[in-house]
Amino acid sequence: MTSATTRGPIQVDGEVFSNKRVGAYQHLTLVADGIAERTRPGNFVALAVGGATSANLLRRSFSIYRVRPAGVYGGTVEIVFAASGAGTQWLADRQPHDAINVVGPLGRPFALPKEPVACALVGGGYGSAPLFALAEKLRERSCAVHMVLGASTESRLFGALEARRAAQSVTVTTLDGSVGIKGLVTDPLPALMARHSIEVVYSCGPMGMLAAATRVATDQGAWSQTAVEEAMACGIGVCMTCVLPVVGDDGVTRMLRSCVEGPVFAGDKVRWDAVGTIPAGTFGAPEVSRQ
Protein backbone atom coordinates (compact mmCIF):
# COMPACT_ATOMS: atom_id res chain seq x y z
CA MET A 1 0.00 0.00 0.00
CA THR A 2 1.20 3.49 -0.81
CA SER A 3 0.88 5.90 2.07
CA ALA A 4 -1.05 9.15 1.81
CA THR A 5 2.16 11.15 1.63
CA THR A 6 3.43 9.38 -1.48
CA ARG A 7 0.31 9.61 -3.60
CA GLY A 8 -0.60 12.03 -6.32
CA PRO A 9 1.58 14.19 -8.51
CA ILE A 10 4.18 16.71 -7.42
CA GLN A 11 5.97 19.50 -9.28
CA VAL A 12 9.75 19.51 -8.96
CA ASP A 13 12.70 21.15 -10.66
CA GLY A 14 14.50 18.18 -12.13
CA GLU A 15 18.12 18.08 -13.20
CA VAL A 16 19.39 16.21 -16.23
CA PHE A 17 21.53 13.26 -15.16
CA SER A 18 22.09 11.88 -18.66
CA ASN A 19 20.59 12.34 -22.10
CA LYS A 20 21.60 9.71 -24.62
CA ARG A 21 20.74 8.84 -28.18
CA VAL A 22 19.33 5.29 -28.52
CA GLY A 23 18.69 4.44 -32.15
CA ALA A 24 16.20 6.98 -33.43
CA TYR A 25 15.22 7.96 -29.89
CA GLN A 26 16.44 9.92 -26.93
CA HIS A 27 16.77 8.36 -23.46
CA LEU A 28 16.58 11.08 -20.80
CA THR A 29 17.35 10.46 -17.13
CA LEU A 30 16.35 13.19 -14.69
CA VAL A 31 17.11 13.57 -11.02
CA ALA A 32 13.66 14.49 -9.72
CA ASP A 33 13.13 13.81 -6.05
CA GLY A 34 9.86 12.32 -4.93
CA ILE A 35 8.66 11.05 -8.30
CA ALA A 36 10.04 7.51 -8.08
CA GLU A 37 8.35 6.67 -4.79
CA ARG A 38 4.96 7.60 -6.22
CA THR A 39 5.28 5.97 -9.63
CA ARG A 40 3.54 2.82 -10.83
CA PRO A 41 3.91 1.30 -14.32
CA GLY A 42 1.82 3.22 -16.83
CA ASN A 43 2.15 6.60 -15.08
CA PHE A 44 3.56 9.51 -17.03
CA VAL A 45 5.37 12.79 -16.44
CA ALA A 46 4.67 16.20 -18.00
CA LEU A 47 7.79 18.23 -18.70
CA ALA A 48 7.95 21.98 -19.28
CA VAL A 49 10.10 22.91 -22.28
CA GLY A 50 12.14 25.96 -23.14
CA GLY A 51 12.66 27.47 -19.68
CA ALA A 52 10.71 30.05 -17.67
CA THR A 53 10.08 32.45 -20.57
CA SER A 54 9.48 29.76 -23.20
CA ALA A 55 7.12 30.53 -26.08
CA ASN A 56 6.14 26.82 -25.98
CA LEU A 57 3.76 26.90 -23.05
CA LEU A 58 2.32 23.41 -23.15
CA ARG A 59 3.95 20.61 -21.23
CA ARG A 60 5.12 17.52 -23.10
CA SER A 61 3.86 14.26 -21.62
CA PHE A 62 5.87 11.04 -21.64
CA SER A 63 5.30 7.56 -20.28
CA ILE A 64 7.73 6.77 -17.52
CA TYR A 65 10.30 4.22 -18.65
CA ARG A 66 11.99 3.59 -15.32
CA VAL A 67 12.36 5.16 -11.87
CA ARG A 68 14.92 4.72 -9.13
CA PRO A 69 14.18 5.90 -5.59
CA ALA A 70 16.58 8.28 -3.88
CA GLY A 71 20.09 6.86 -3.55
CA VAL A 72 23.48 8.49 -4.11
CA TYR A 73 22.01 10.93 -6.64
CA GLY A 74 18.49 11.42 -5.35
CA GLY A 75 15.53 9.81 -7.05
CA THR A 76 15.57 9.55 -10.82
CA VAL A 77 12.93 9.24 -13.52
CA GLU A 78 13.66 8.10 -17.09
CA ILE A 79 11.78 8.65 -20.32
CA VAL A 80 12.27 7.69 -23.97
CA PHE A 81 11.09 9.97 -26.74
CA ALA A 82 11.54 11.00 -30.35
CA ALA A 83 12.72 14.54 -31.07
CA SER A 84 9.97 15.50 -33.50
CA GLY A 85 9.10 19.13 -32.78
CA ALA A 86 10.41 22.26 -31.08
CA GLY A 87 9.66 21.02 -27.57
CA THR A 88 11.10 17.52 -27.88
CA GLN A 89 14.14 18.91 -29.71
CA TRP A 90 14.75 21.27 -26.79
CA LEU A 91 14.58 18.27 -24.46
CA ALA A 92 16.96 16.30 -26.68
CA ASP A 93 19.46 19.18 -26.52
CA ARG A 94 19.61 19.30 -22.71
CA GLN A 95 22.97 18.53 -21.14
CA PRO A 96 23.76 16.99 -17.74
CA HIS A 97 22.95 19.41 -14.87
CA ASP A 98 20.47 21.41 -16.99
CA ALA A 99 17.14 22.05 -15.25
CA ILE A 100 13.82 20.65 -16.49
CA ASN A 101 10.60 21.22 -14.57
CA VAL A 102 8.72 17.98 -13.93
CA VAL A 103 5.10 17.31 -12.97
CA GLY A 104 4.32 13.74 -12.08
CA PRO A 105 3.63 10.98 -11.73
CA LEU A 106 0.35 11.47 -13.57
CA GLY A 107 -2.47 9.28 -14.81
CA ARG A 108 -3.85 5.89 -13.93
CA PRO A 109 -1.34 3.01 -14.06
CA PHE A 110 -1.81 -0.39 -15.68
CA ALA A 111 -4.21 -2.63 -13.78
CA LEU A 112 -2.50 -5.83 -12.64
CA PRO A 113 -4.07 -9.28 -12.64
CA LYS A 114 -4.82 -10.82 -9.24
CA GLU A 115 -3.95 -14.31 -10.49
CA PRO A 116 -0.61 -15.46 -11.97
CA VAL A 117 -1.85 -15.47 -15.57
CA ALA A 118 0.12 -15.28 -18.83
CA CYS A 119 0.40 -11.76 -20.27
CA ALA A 120 1.45 -10.32 -23.62
CA LEU A 121 3.07 -6.88 -23.59
CA VAL A 122 2.85 -5.17 -26.97
CA GLY A 123 4.89 -2.03 -27.70
CA GLY A 124 5.02 0.08 -30.84
CA GLY A 125 8.19 2.17 -31.29
CA TYR A 126 9.18 3.85 -28.02
CA GLY A 127 5.74 2.83 -26.72
CA SER A 128 7.58 -0.17 -25.34
CA ALA A 129 9.24 2.06 -22.70
CA PRO A 130 6.63 1.69 -19.91
CA LEU A 131 6.31 -2.06 -20.50
CA PHE A 132 9.58 -3.00 -18.79
CA ALA A 133 8.56 -1.76 -15.36
CA LEU A 134 5.20 -3.43 -15.95
CA ALA A 135 6.95 -6.71 -16.81
CA GLU A 136 8.83 -6.55 -13.52
CA LYS A 137 5.61 -6.05 -11.55
CA LEU A 138 3.94 -8.91 -13.42
CA ARG A 139 6.85 -11.25 -12.74
CA GLU A 140 6.64 -10.38 -9.04
CA ARG A 141 3.09 -11.73 -9.26
CA SER A 142 4.34 -14.89 -10.98
CA CYS A 143 2.73 -13.93 -14.28
CA ALA A 144 4.38 -15.24 -17.43
CA VAL A 145 5.47 -12.27 -19.54
CA HIS A 146 5.71 -12.37 -23.35
CA MET A 147 6.81 -9.23 -25.17
CA VAL A 148 6.07 -8.22 -28.73
CA LEU A 149 7.97 -5.17 -29.91
CA GLY A 150 7.37 -3.57 -33.27
CA ALA A 151 8.49 -0.53 -35.21
CA SER A 152 8.76 0.77 -38.76
CA THR A 153 12.45 -0.10 -38.88
CA GLU A 154 15.24 -1.41 -36.62
CA SER A 155 16.43 2.00 -35.36
CA ARG A 156 12.89 2.70 -34.15
CA LEU A 157 12.67 -0.37 -31.97
CA PHE A 158 13.23 0.33 -28.32
CA GLY A 159 14.42 -2.14 -25.73
CA ALA A 160 14.67 -5.35 -27.79
CA LEU A 161 17.73 -6.47 -25.81
CA GLU A 162 16.29 -5.49 -22.45
CA ALA A 163 13.15 -7.41 -23.35
CA ARG A 164 15.15 -10.65 -23.29
CA ARG A 165 15.78 -10.12 -19.58
CA ALA A 166 12.26 -8.87 -18.88
CA ALA A 167 10.24 -11.52 -20.65
CA GLN A 168 9.98 -15.26 -21.16
CA SER A 169 9.67 -14.76 -24.90
CA VAL A 170 10.36 -11.82 -27.18
CA THR A 171 8.93 -11.33 -30.65
CA VAL A 172 10.19 -8.49 -32.83
CA THR A 173 8.50 -7.08 -35.92
CA THR A 174 9.47 -4.30 -38.35
CA LEU A 175 7.43 -2.92 -41.21
CA ASP A 176 10.45 -2.99 -43.53
CA GLY A 177 11.71 -6.36 -42.29
CA SER A 178 15.09 -4.88 -41.24
CA VAL A 179 14.91 -7.08 -38.15
CA GLY A 180 12.47 -9.70 -36.90
CA ILE A 181 9.22 -10.58 -38.61
CA LYS A 182 8.21 -8.28 -41.44
CA GLY A 183 4.84 -6.73 -40.69
CA LEU A 184 2.74 -5.14 -37.96
CA VAL A 185 3.41 -5.69 -34.28
CA THR A 186 -0.05 -7.20 -33.91
CA ASP A 187 0.47 -9.75 -36.74
CA PRO A 188 2.17 -12.42 -34.57
CA LEU A 189 -0.14 -11.74 -31.62
CA PRO A 190 -2.95 -14.27 -32.30
CA ALA A 191 -0.55 -17.22 -32.61
CA LEU A 192 1.46 -16.09 -29.58
CA MET A 193 -1.69 -15.77 -27.51
CA ALA A 194 -2.89 -19.23 -28.46
CA ARG A 195 0.53 -20.79 -27.85
CA HIS A 196 0.95 -19.34 -24.34
CA SER A 197 -2.70 -19.13 -23.25
CA ILE A 198 -2.43 -15.35 -22.84
CA GLU A 199 -5.17 -13.88 -20.66
CA VAL A 200 -4.16 -10.20 -20.61
CA VAL A 201 -2.79 -8.07 -23.46
CA TYR A 202 -1.06 -4.85 -22.43
CA SER A 203 -0.25 -2.39 -25.19
CA CYS A 204 1.31 1.03 -25.60
CA GLY A 205 1.85 2.87 -28.87
CA PRO A 206 -0.10 4.63 -31.61
CA MET A 207 -3.92 4.55 -31.55
CA GLY A 208 -4.21 2.22 -34.56
CA MET A 209 -1.94 -0.30 -32.90
CA LEU A 210 -3.90 -0.15 -29.65
CA ALA A 211 -7.15 -0.70 -31.55
CA ALA A 212 -5.65 -3.73 -33.33
CA ALA A 213 -4.20 -5.18 -30.11
CA THR A 214 -7.58 -4.78 -28.43
CA ARG A 215 -9.32 -6.50 -31.33
CA VAL A 216 -6.99 -9.49 -31.16
CA ALA A 217 -7.30 -9.71 -27.37
CA THR A 218 -11.08 -9.47 -27.42
CA ASP A 219 -11.35 -12.07 -30.20
CA GLN A 220 -9.50 -14.54 -28.01
CA GLY A 221 -11.44 -13.67 -24.87
CA ALA A 222 -8.50 -11.94 -23.19
CA TRP A 223 -8.50 -8.67 -21.21
CA SER A 224 -6.79 -5.71 -22.77
CA GLN A 225 -5.11 -2.75 -21.13
CA THR A 226 -4.10 0.05 -23.47
CA ALA A 227 -1.97 3.13 -22.72
CA VAL A 228 -3.12 5.84 -25.13
CA GLU A 229 -1.17 8.76 -26.56
CA GLU A 230 -3.60 11.69 -26.85
CA ALA A 231 -2.37 15.26 -27.28
CA MET A 232 -2.48 16.98 -23.88
CA ALA A 233 -2.07 20.59 -22.88
CA CYS A 234 -1.86 20.32 -19.07
CA GLY A 235 -1.57 16.62 -18.16
CA ILE A 236 -3.31 17.24 -14.82
CA GLY A 237 -6.99 17.19 -15.74
CA VAL A 238 -7.93 20.86 -16.00
CA CYS A 239 -7.80 21.67 -19.72
CA MET A 240 -10.20 19.04 -21.18
CA THR A 241 -8.26 18.68 -24.45
CA CYS A 242 -7.13 15.03 -24.27
CA VAL A 243 -10.56 13.40 -24.31
CA LEU A 244 -11.64 10.26 -26.11
CA PRO A 245 -14.90 8.31 -26.23
CA VAL A 246 -14.99 5.54 -23.63
CA VAL A 247 -17.95 3.31 -22.73
CA GLY A 248 -18.74 3.09 -19.02
CA ASP A 249 -20.03 0.10 -17.06
CA ASP A 250 -23.51 1.57 -17.58
CA GLY A 251 -23.08 1.24 -21.37
CA VAL A 252 -22.98 5.03 -21.84
CA THR A 253 -20.20 6.62 -23.91
CA ARG A 254 -18.46 9.55 -22.24
CA MET A 255 -15.67 11.82 -23.38
CA LEU A 256 -13.00 10.96 -20.80
CA ARG A 257 -9.72 12.75 -20.16
CA SER A 258 -6.81 10.50 -21.04
CA CYS A 259 -4.58 12.32 -18.52
CA VAL A 260 -6.58 11.53 -15.38
CA GLU A 261 -9.10 8.84 -16.36
CA GLY A 262 -6.31 7.27 -18.47
CA PRO A 263 -3.81 7.06 -20.04
CA VAL A 264 -4.46 3.38 -19.39
CA PHE A 265 -7.94 2.24 -20.40
CA ALA A 266 -9.50 -1.18 -20.72
CA GLY A 267 -9.10 -1.56 -24.48
CA ASP A 268 -12.58 -2.97 -25.03
CA LYS A 269 -14.12 0.16 -23.47
CA VAL A 270 -12.48 2.63 -25.86
CA ARG A 271 -14.45 3.38 -29.01
CA TRP A 272 -11.38 3.28 -31.24
CA ASP A 273 -13.26 3.86 -34.50
CA ALA A 274 -14.78 7.03 -33.05
CA VAL A 275 -11.60 8.61 -31.62
CA GLY A 276 -11.48 12.19 -32.92
CA THR A 277 -15.27 12.47 -32.99
CA ILE A 278 -18.18 12.84 -30.58
CA PRO A 279 -20.09 9.65 -31.47
CA ALA A 280 -23.89 9.90 -31.57
CA GLY A 281 -25.40 9.08 -28.21
CA THR A 282 -22.38 10.24 -26.20
CA PHE A 283 -23.31 11.62 -22.77
CA GLY A 284 -23.99 15.32 -23.34
CA ALA A 285 -23.66 15.17 -27.13
CA PRO A 286 -25.73 17.73 -29.01
CA GLU A 287 -29.12 16.34 -30.00
CA VAL A 288 -29.61 16.09 -33.73
CA SER A 289 -32.83 18.12 -33.54
CA ARG A 290 -30.95 21.03 -32.02
CA GLN A 291 -28.36 21.23 -34.78
Binding site: L58, V238, M240, T241, V243, I278, G284
Partner: protein, 323 residues
Amino acid sequence: MAAGLRPQDVDLTTVLADSRLANPVMTASGCAAAGQELQQFFDVSDLGAVVTKSIMRDVRSGRATPRMAETPSGMLNSIGLQGPGVNAFLARDLPWLLQHDARPIVSIAGSSLGEYAELARRVGNTPGVAAIEVNISCPNVEDRGLVFACHPVQAGRVLSVVRRDTPRGLPVFAKLSPDVTNIVDIARSVVEAGADGLVLINTLLGLNIDFTTMRPKLGGVMGGLSGPAVRPVAVRAVWQVANALPGIPLIGVGGIRTGADALEFLVAGASAVQVGTAIFNDPNAPVRVLSELRTELAAHGFARARDAVGYANRPALEGVMAQ
Protein backbone atom coordinates in the same frame (compact mmCIF):
# COMPACT_ATOMS: atom_id res chain seq x y z
CA MET B 1 4.27 55.55 -2.78
CA ALA B 2 6.40 54.30 0.10
CA ALA B 3 10.07 53.39 -0.20
CA GLY B 4 11.76 50.41 1.46
CA LEU B 5 8.61 48.32 1.56
CA ARG B 6 8.92 44.66 2.49
CA PRO B 7 6.80 42.23 0.43
CA GLN B 8 5.22 40.78 3.58
CA ASP B 9 3.96 44.25 4.56
CA VAL B 10 1.99 44.79 1.35
CA ASP B 11 -1.78 44.81 1.87
CA LEU B 12 -3.19 42.61 -0.88
CA THR B 13 -6.88 42.96 -0.10
CA THR B 14 -9.03 44.12 -2.95
CA VAL B 15 -12.63 45.21 -3.25
CA LEU B 16 -14.85 44.15 -6.11
CA ALA B 17 -18.38 45.48 -6.18
CA ASP B 18 -18.81 45.55 -2.41
CA SER B 19 -17.19 42.17 -1.92
CA ARG B 20 -13.82 42.08 -0.30
CA LEU B 21 -11.20 39.53 -1.38
CA ALA B 22 -8.09 38.61 0.59
CA ASN B 23 -6.01 39.10 -2.54
CA PRO B 24 -6.54 39.99 -6.21
CA VAL B 25 -5.45 36.69 -7.83
CA MET B 26 -8.01 34.21 -9.19
CA THR B 27 -8.00 31.33 -11.59
CA ALA B 28 -9.44 31.99 -15.05
CA SER B 29 -12.53 30.13 -16.13
CA GLY B 30 -11.82 26.97 -18.11
CA CYS B 31 -8.24 26.68 -16.89
CA ALA B 32 -8.81 25.31 -13.41
CA ALA B 33 -11.83 22.98 -13.82
CA ALA B 34 -13.56 23.32 -10.42
CA GLY B 35 -10.40 23.43 -8.32
CA GLN B 36 -9.96 19.79 -7.27
CA GLU B 37 -7.07 19.00 -9.62
CA LEU B 38 -5.13 22.11 -8.56
CA GLN B 39 -5.54 21.30 -4.86
CA GLN B 40 -2.90 18.60 -5.45
CA PHE B 41 -0.39 21.41 -6.02
CA PHE B 42 -1.52 24.27 -3.75
CA ASP B 43 -4.29 25.21 -1.39
CA VAL B 44 -7.12 26.74 -3.42
CA SER B 45 -8.16 28.79 -0.38
CA ASP B 46 -4.93 30.81 -0.78
CA LEU B 47 -6.40 32.50 -3.86
CA GLY B 48 -8.64 35.54 -3.89
CA ALA B 49 -11.20 33.38 -5.67
CA VAL B 50 -11.53 30.25 -7.79
CA VAL B 51 -13.43 30.91 -11.01
CA THR B 52 -14.99 27.68 -12.23
CA LYS B 53 -15.14 26.37 -15.75
CA SER B 54 -18.36 27.71 -17.31
CA ILE B 55 -21.36 25.75 -16.11
CA MET B 56 -24.21 25.11 -18.51
CA ARG B 57 -27.70 23.90 -17.72
CA ASP B 58 -27.23 20.48 -19.29
CA VAL B 59 -24.41 17.98 -19.43
CA ARG B 60 -22.27 18.66 -22.49
CA SER B 61 -19.81 16.47 -24.37
CA GLY B 62 -17.87 19.32 -25.99
CA ARG B 63 -16.32 19.26 -29.43
CA ALA B 64 -14.36 16.64 -31.31
CA THR B 65 -10.59 16.42 -30.93
CA PRO B 66 -8.06 17.83 -31.64
CA ARG B 67 -9.18 20.47 -29.19
CA MET B 68 -5.97 22.38 -28.83
CA ALA B 69 -2.95 23.57 -30.72
CA GLU B 70 0.14 25.25 -29.39
CA THR B 71 0.86 28.64 -30.96
CA PRO B 72 3.69 31.13 -30.31
CA SER B 73 3.44 32.10 -26.63
CA GLY B 74 -0.09 30.77 -26.52
CA MET B 75 -2.55 28.15 -27.59
CA LEU B 76 -5.79 27.70 -29.45
CA ASN B 77 -8.59 25.70 -27.89
CA SER B 78 -11.96 24.46 -29.05
CA ILE B 79 -13.14 22.48 -26.05
CA GLY B 80 -16.78 23.38 -26.63
CA LEU B 81 -17.65 23.81 -22.94
CA GLN B 82 -17.55 20.11 -22.02
CA GLY B 83 -19.07 19.90 -18.59
CA PRO B 84 -21.31 18.02 -16.17
CA GLY B 85 -24.28 20.43 -16.20
CA VAL B 86 -25.55 22.56 -13.34
CA ASN B 87 -27.12 19.76 -11.29
CA ALA B 88 -23.90 17.76 -11.01
CA PHE B 89 -21.92 20.96 -10.45
CA LEU B 90 -24.10 22.06 -7.53
CA ALA B 91 -24.24 18.56 -6.06
CA ARG B 92 -20.57 17.72 -6.31
CA ASP B 93 -18.16 20.48 -7.37
CA LEU B 94 -19.45 23.52 -5.50
CA PRO B 95 -19.64 21.69 -2.13
CA TRP B 96 -16.05 20.57 -2.64
CA LEU B 97 -14.90 24.17 -3.16
CA LEU B 98 -16.77 25.30 -0.05
CA GLN B 99 -15.40 22.45 2.06
CA HIS B 100 -11.92 23.58 1.05
CA ASP B 101 -12.59 27.21 2.05
CA ALA B 102 -12.30 28.48 -1.52
CA ARG B 103 -14.25 31.54 -2.60
CA PRO B 104 -16.06 30.28 -5.67
CA ILE B 105 -16.93 32.60 -8.51
CA VAL B 106 -19.20 30.48 -10.68
CA SER B 107 -18.97 31.05 -14.42
CA ILE B 108 -22.26 30.41 -16.21
CA ALA B 109 -22.89 30.00 -19.94
CA GLY B 110 -26.13 29.54 -21.82
CA SER B 111 -27.39 29.27 -25.33
CA SER B 112 -30.58 31.26 -24.68
CA LEU B 113 -31.74 34.01 -22.33
CA GLY B 114 -33.92 31.49 -20.53
CA GLU B 115 -30.97 29.25 -19.86
CA TYR B 116 -28.92 32.14 -18.45
CA ALA B 117 -31.83 33.12 -16.22
CA GLU B 118 -32.27 29.57 -14.95
CA LEU B 119 -28.56 29.28 -14.21
CA ALA B 120 -28.57 32.63 -12.40
CA ARG B 121 -31.41 31.41 -10.16
CA ARG B 122 -29.94 27.98 -9.50
CA VAL B 123 -26.39 29.18 -8.84
CA GLY B 124 -27.30 32.50 -7.24
CA ASN B 125 -29.54 30.89 -4.65
CA THR B 126 -26.92 28.38 -3.57
CA PRO B 127 -25.17 29.50 -0.38
CA GLY B 128 -21.43 30.09 -0.55
CA VAL B 129 -21.17 31.43 -4.08
CA ALA B 130 -19.00 34.57 -3.97
CA ALA B 131 -20.06 35.96 -7.36
CA ILE B 132 -21.37 34.97 -10.76
CA GLU B 133 -19.24 35.45 -13.86
CA VAL B 134 -21.32 35.50 -17.03
CA ASN B 135 -19.62 33.94 -20.05
CA ILE B 136 -21.43 35.56 -22.96
CA SER B 137 -19.10 34.21 -25.65
CA CYS B 138 -21.64 31.55 -26.63
CA PRO B 139 -23.78 31.28 -29.74
CA ASN B 140 -27.41 32.30 -29.23
CA VAL B 141 -29.49 29.42 -30.60
CA GLU B 142 -32.54 31.71 -30.69
CA ASP B 143 -30.75 34.28 -32.87
CA ARG B 144 -29.04 32.45 -35.76
CA GLY B 145 -26.21 31.34 -33.51
CA LEU B 146 -24.84 34.87 -33.18
CA VAL B 147 -22.51 35.20 -30.24
CA PHE B 148 -24.07 37.26 -27.43
CA ALA B 149 -20.75 38.92 -26.59
CA CYS B 150 -20.39 40.48 -30.02
CA HIS B 151 -23.58 42.51 -29.94
CA PRO B 152 -24.18 45.31 -27.39
CA VAL B 153 -27.95 44.76 -27.27
CA GLN B 154 -27.74 40.95 -27.00
CA ALA B 155 -24.95 41.16 -24.42
CA GLY B 156 -27.02 43.65 -22.42
CA ARG B 157 -30.08 41.36 -22.53
CA VAL B 158 -28.10 38.48 -21.04
CA LEU B 159 -26.81 40.63 -18.20
CA SER B 160 -30.22 42.08 -17.56
CA VAL B 161 -31.85 38.66 -17.10
CA VAL B 162 -28.95 37.37 -15.02
CA ARG B 163 -28.99 40.45 -12.78
CA ARG B 164 -32.79 40.22 -12.47
CA ASP B 165 -32.67 36.58 -11.37
CA THR B 166 -29.58 36.74 -9.15
CA PRO B 167 -30.20 37.60 -5.49
CA ARG B 168 -29.42 41.20 -4.62
CA GLY B 169 -26.02 41.58 -3.01
CA LEU B 170 -24.41 38.79 -5.04
CA PRO B 171 -22.09 40.45 -7.58
CA VAL B 172 -22.55 39.64 -11.28
CA PHE B 173 -19.55 40.09 -13.57
CA ALA B 174 -19.73 39.99 -17.37
CA LYS B 175 -16.79 38.46 -19.23
CA LEU B 176 -16.31 40.25 -22.53
CA SER B 177 -14.89 39.12 -25.84
CA PRO B 178 -12.16 41.22 -27.45
CA ASP B 179 -13.45 40.20 -30.92
CA VAL B 180 -15.65 43.29 -31.26
CA THR B 181 -15.39 46.61 -33.02
CA ASN B 182 -15.50 48.62 -29.81
CA ILE B 183 -15.28 46.85 -26.47
CA VAL B 184 -16.31 50.03 -24.65
CA ASP B 185 -19.76 49.88 -26.32
CA ILE B 186 -20.28 46.34 -25.05
CA ALA B 187 -18.95 47.27 -21.61
CA ARG B 188 -21.31 50.22 -21.35
CA SER B 189 -24.26 48.12 -22.48
CA VAL B 190 -23.75 45.34 -19.93
CA VAL B 191 -23.08 47.79 -17.11
CA GLU B 192 -26.31 49.64 -17.94
CA ALA B 193 -28.05 46.25 -17.92
CA GLY B 194 -26.88 45.66 -14.36
CA ALA B 195 -23.43 44.05 -14.45
CA ASP B 196 -21.58 44.90 -11.24
CA GLY B 197 -18.18 44.51 -12.88
CA LEU B 198 -16.40 43.30 -15.99
CA VAL B 199 -13.94 40.54 -16.73
CA LEU B 200 -11.59 41.49 -19.57
CA ILE B 201 -10.92 39.51 -21.77
CA ASN B 202 -12.12 36.18 -23.12
CA THR B 203 -10.01 34.45 -25.81
CA LEU B 204 -9.54 35.82 -29.32
CA LEU B 205 -10.80 33.72 -32.21
CA GLY B 206 -7.97 32.11 -34.15
CA LEU B 207 -7.19 29.34 -36.61
CA ASN B 208 -4.14 27.38 -37.65
CA ILE B 209 -3.41 24.75 -40.28
CA ASP B 210 -2.13 21.20 -39.86
CA PHE B 211 0.36 20.59 -42.66
CA THR B 212 -0.08 16.82 -42.56
CA THR B 213 -3.75 17.13 -43.51
CA MET B 214 -3.64 20.65 -45.06
CA ARG B 215 -6.78 21.44 -43.11
CA PRO B 216 -7.53 23.47 -39.98
CA LYS B 217 -5.86 21.77 -37.06
CA LEU B 218 -8.70 22.01 -34.55
CA GLY B 219 -11.72 19.74 -34.65
CA GLY B 220 -13.79 22.88 -34.04
CA VAL B 221 -11.97 24.58 -36.97
CA MET B 222 -11.65 27.91 -35.13
CA GLY B 223 -10.55 28.17 -31.53
CA GLY B 224 -9.91 30.65 -28.75
CA LEU B 225 -6.40 32.09 -28.56
CA SER B 226 -5.01 32.52 -25.06
CA GLY B 227 -1.67 32.85 -23.31
CA PRO B 228 0.97 35.59 -23.14
CA ALA B 229 0.48 36.26 -26.87
CA VAL B 230 -2.83 38.02 -26.09
CA ARG B 231 -1.70 39.96 -23.02
CA PRO B 232 -1.24 43.38 -24.67
CA VAL B 233 -4.73 43.04 -26.17
CA ALA B 234 -6.15 42.36 -22.70
CA VAL B 235 -4.22 45.21 -21.06
CA ARG B 236 -5.46 47.52 -23.81
CA ALA B 237 -9.06 46.45 -23.16
CA VAL B 238 -8.68 47.07 -19.42
CA TRP B 239 -7.11 50.46 -20.08
CA GLN B 240 -9.86 51.53 -22.50
CA VAL B 241 -12.72 50.41 -20.29
CA ALA B 242 -11.12 51.82 -17.13
CA ASN B 243 -10.91 55.21 -18.82
CA ALA B 244 -14.39 55.09 -20.32
CA LEU B 245 -16.22 53.72 -17.27
CA PRO B 246 -14.35 54.90 -14.18
CA GLY B 247 -15.50 53.29 -10.97
CA ILE B 248 -16.65 50.02 -12.57
CA PRO B 249 -14.69 47.13 -11.04
CA LEU B 250 -12.56 45.35 -13.62
CA ILE B 251 -10.95 41.93 -13.49
CA GLY B 252 -8.03 41.55 -15.91
CA VAL B 253 -7.32 38.26 -17.63
CA GLY B 254 -5.23 37.29 -20.63
CA GLY B 255 -1.72 35.86 -20.69
CA ILE B 256 -0.72 36.46 -17.09
CA ARG B 257 2.33 34.36 -16.33
CA THR B 258 4.24 36.36 -13.70
CA GLY B 259 3.63 38.81 -10.88
CA ALA B 260 4.87 41.61 -13.13
CA ASP B 261 2.20 40.66 -15.68
CA ALA B 262 -0.43 40.86 -12.93
CA LEU B 263 0.86 44.26 -11.81
CA GLU B 264 0.57 45.50 -15.40
CA PHE B 265 -3.18 44.74 -15.30
CA LEU B 266 -3.61 46.42 -11.92
CA VAL B 267 -1.95 49.67 -12.95
CA ALA B 268 -3.93 49.62 -16.22
CA GLY B 269 -7.11 49.64 -14.12
CA ALA B 270 -7.98 46.11 -12.98
CA SER B 271 -8.86 45.51 -9.33
CA ALA B 272 -8.17 41.79 -9.64
CA VAL B 273 -6.59 39.39 -12.12
CA GLN B 274 -7.12 35.84 -13.33
CA VAL B 275 -4.42 33.34 -14.23
CA GLY B 276 -5.43 30.92 -16.97
CA THR B 277 -3.29 29.32 -19.65
CA ALA B 278 -0.15 29.69 -17.51
CA ILE B 279 -1.62 26.94 -15.29
CA PHE B 280 -1.07 24.46 -18.12
CA ASN B 281 2.61 25.39 -18.09
CA ASP B 282 2.91 25.59 -14.32
CA PRO B 283 0.16 24.14 -12.11
CA ASN B 284 1.41 26.36 -9.28
CA ALA B 285 1.12 29.49 -11.44
CA PRO B 286 -1.78 31.14 -9.52
CA VAL B 287 0.01 31.07 -6.15
CA ARG B 288 3.37 31.84 -7.73
CA VAL B 289 1.87 34.88 -9.48
CA LEU B 290 0.36 35.95 -6.16
CA SER B 291 3.69 35.74 -4.38
CA GLU B 292 5.52 37.50 -7.22
CA LEU B 293 2.83 40.21 -7.31
CA ARG B 294 3.45 40.91 -3.63
CA THR B 295 7.16 41.34 -4.38
CA GLU B 296 6.47 43.55 -7.41
CA LEU B 297 4.09 45.78 -5.46
CA ALA B 298 6.70 46.24 -2.73
CA ALA B 299 9.49 46.88 -5.24
CA HIS B 300 7.40 49.60 -6.89
CA GLY B 301 6.45 51.17 -3.59
CA PHE B 302 2.78 50.20 -3.47
CA ALA B 303 1.87 49.54 0.16
CA ARG B 304 -1.59 48.33 -0.87
CA ALA B 305 -2.63 46.46 -3.99
CA ARG B 306 -5.58 48.88 -4.17
CA ASP B 307 -3.14 51.80 -4.59
CA ALA B 308 -1.80 50.27 -7.80
CA VAL B 309 -5.24 49.93 -9.41
CA GLY B 310 -5.47 52.35 -12.31
CA TYR B 311 -2.19 54.04 -11.41
CA ALA B 312 -1.22 54.27 -15.09
CA ASN B 313 -4.39 56.26 -15.67
CA ARG B 314 -3.45 59.08 -13.25
CA PRO B 315 -3.26 62.61 -14.65
CA ALA B 316 0.10 63.43 -16.22
CA LEU B 317 0.73 66.29 -13.81
CA GLU B 318 0.66 64.01 -10.79
CA GLY B 319 3.38 61.87 -12.39
CA VAL B 320 5.60 64.90 -12.76
CA MET B 321 5.07 66.04 -9.17
CA ALA B 322 5.88 62.60 -7.79
CA GLN B 323 9.39 62.71 -9.26
